[in-house]
């Protein structure tokens, strides 16, 4: 068979296994979608009832969810916070990881800094929360700017790990070549190393972006009750002490999910792109 020689021959057994595995995701997603379309009076306690399709398909829940959450404003706030946090993370964390990663094997101060920052990952947020509330208020950062700064700090340890790990697969020889041509460390980084880390940038963007997008605790304690909402903050309106409107909440969650899926698909192309464009040719 001549076709066997073609490089892009599809691996059908793996494809089929992966499709079977999708059940674990499609089922919860299906439940979320049908609940999002149902009226509260259609909620039941039996399997047939919960798995059944809504009695009629209407976008009422979605429209109401948009109104209750003041969707477009909340969405905009979430978007601003997420974009700033993600862009800043990519620029700052990759640079910091480069400085630390390239020196930690032979310089004590960098090695110590690495472990110092990584250790920060294990500080339970609950212990930081009240001190940070006080601190951001004193610094006049009890607002969106403060929330963004906190995200840049909170995700620094994780991203530092990701970037330093990835840097190990980028040969130092590449930099040395650039340096021999007279480029400074700074410009070598931005011209050679930074572009090479593109797949990791995409990964960091996805992971940081999602964590920020879904986070409710930080905006709640830093800027809660001021009338400026992020989407997850606004979504808390569906839950009061003794009642939860699952139908509206699920509709709202599905709406909030869509931009993230689009973002992921775009970012994912970059991860794959990294392979074919080949940093390391």
């Amino acid at each position: 068979m001549a076709k066997e020689k073609v490089k892009e021959r599809a691996n059908w057994p793996v494809t089929i296994l992966l499709i079977i595995g999708l059940i674990t995701i499609i089922f919860p997603l299906y439940m979320a979608v049908v609940i999002a379309f149902k009226d509260p009076t259609e909620m039941t306690n039996d399997i047939a009832g919960i798995l059944s399709l809504p009695s009629h398909w209407s976008l009422d829940n979605f429209i109401e969810a948009i109104q209750v959450t003041d969707f477009f404003n909340s969405f905009l706030n979430s978007l601003i916070i997420t974009v700033v946090a993600v862009v800043a993370s990519i620029l700052i964390h990759s640079l910091a990881a480069y400085a630390i990663g390239r020196n930690m094997d032979h310089k004590k101060i960098f090695k110590a800094s690495y472990y110092f920052i990584i250790a920060g990952m294990y500080v339970p947020f609950a212990i930081l929360m009240m001190p940070l509330v006080k601190q951001t208020a004193v610094m006049h950062l009890d607002n969106m700017v403060g929330v963004m700064i906190l995200y840049i700090v909170f995700y620094m340890p994780m991203n530092m790990m990701l970037y330093t790990g990835y840097l190990r697969n980028i040969p130092i020889a590449l930099e040395e070549a650039a340096r021999m041509d007279g480029a400074s460390t700074w410009s070598t980084y931005w011209k050679v190393i930074f572009p090479l880390m593109k797949p990791m940038h995409a990964t960091v963007a996805v992971i940081t972006g999602l964590a920020v997008w879904n986070d409710v605790m930080t905006p709640l304690v830093i800027m809660g009750g001021q009338g400026v909402n992020t989407l997850p903050l606004a979504q808390m309106n569906f839950q009061t002490a003794f009642s939860t409107n699952y139908n509206l909440a699920f509709a709202s969650y599905l709406l909030a999910m869509l931009p993230m899926i689009v973002f992921y698909i775009v970012a994912q192309k970059q991860i794959i792109g990294g392979v074919t464009n080949g940093a390391v040719k």
Partner: protein, 288 residues
């Protein structure tokens, strides 16, 4: 020649220090400094706000006689170890699958990422439903959420289900950084299948393995949302995680000072565990 090298070297060092110092400053300002404040709170009976008294080492002494805290440590570490291993094995398999020459690659990768995006309320509702109604209907047994011996398994299932998405991405990225010429060289040597994975791919994605083991372990040790969504610490307090106690009793329960002490001990414990873990795993990595 030697003098040029030194000059370049010192310029390089200056650049590195100019990067490192501001990063450390901002990190200390918003992580280390509040941590120290929290540490000071651990010597008080503060509720997190309002008036408080200094109680010295009382909180730390109380911790060692608190069976609830002891049980929460046992539960948390049990769940974390099992969930970390399962997540990594499943994710690595998924990542290899999703990186091979499959059809519908983009769509499959997109859908396998969904668990990471679904909010906690949705995940909690769906899985509670699954364990309360669907599983008992199939097996004919009582829901494991009602069993203090088995409820932790339900927590592990949800944790692994949600964590795999992110872990898989990191593995996919790791696999993408494996230079193709290494693969090809391996193929020329006749290395195939498991051998190729074991001796060529695996050592090269070791940095991703380290990262994932550490990151997943950290997330699992901090488990909180899933507990709230699934069991609220029950049945019979069998699924109270450390973070659950810190949040619940510290911020809602008025035991902020005491739970700060708990958080300090927890922080030291897992920081040490993870740094040892990193050191061990790092020693298996190779710099190209």
């Amino acid at each position: 020649m030697a003098s040029t090298a030194t000059k370049v070297g010192s310029g390089r060092n200056k650049t590195f220090m100019a990067i490192l110092i501001p990063v450390l400053v901002i990190f200390c300002a918003f992580n280390t400094f509040p941590l120290i404040t929290g540490f000071l709170y651990s010597f008080t009976d503060s509720k997190g706000y309002g008036a408080f008294n200094i109680v010295g080492l009382q909180n730390y002494m109380d911790m060692f006689t608190d069976t609830r805290i002891l049980n929460s440590y046992l539960f948390t570490f049990k769940v974390a170890v099992v969930a970390t291993l399962l997540t990594n094995v499943i994710s690595l398999m998924l990542a290899i699958g999703l990186s091979s020459k499959i059809r519908f690659k983009s769509a499959l990768r997109g859908v396998y990422f969904v668990p990471r995006i679904l909010g906690g309320l949705v995940v909690g509702y769906v899985f509670s439903y699954f364990f309360t109604y669907i599983v008992p209907a199939i097996t004919g047994t009582e829901s494991i959420l009602a069993s203090s011996d088995w409820a932790w398994v339900a927590i592990v299932v949800v944790l692994v289900w949600q964590a795999c998405a992110q872990t898989t991405i990191i593995y996919i990225t790791g696999l993408s950084s494996v230079p193709e010429d290494v693969y090809e060289a391996g193929a020329l040597d006749g290395a195939t299948g498991w051998d190729k994975f074991r001796y060529i791919t695996f050592p090269l994605i070791m940095p991703s393995v380290t990262t994932n083991m550490v990151l997943v372990m950290k997330d699992m040790l901090m488990v909180f949302d899933q507990i709230v969504a699934m069991t609220s610490g029950g049945p019979a307090q069998s699924t109270e995680s450390i973070s659950y106690l810190i949040y619940n009793n510290g911020l809602s329960g008025g035991q902020f000072g005491y739970q700060c002490a708990n958080a300090v001990i927890f922080f030291i414990l897992i920081a040490v565990v993870s740094i040892l873990q990193t050191k061990f795993l790092n020693s298996k990595e190779e710099q190209l």
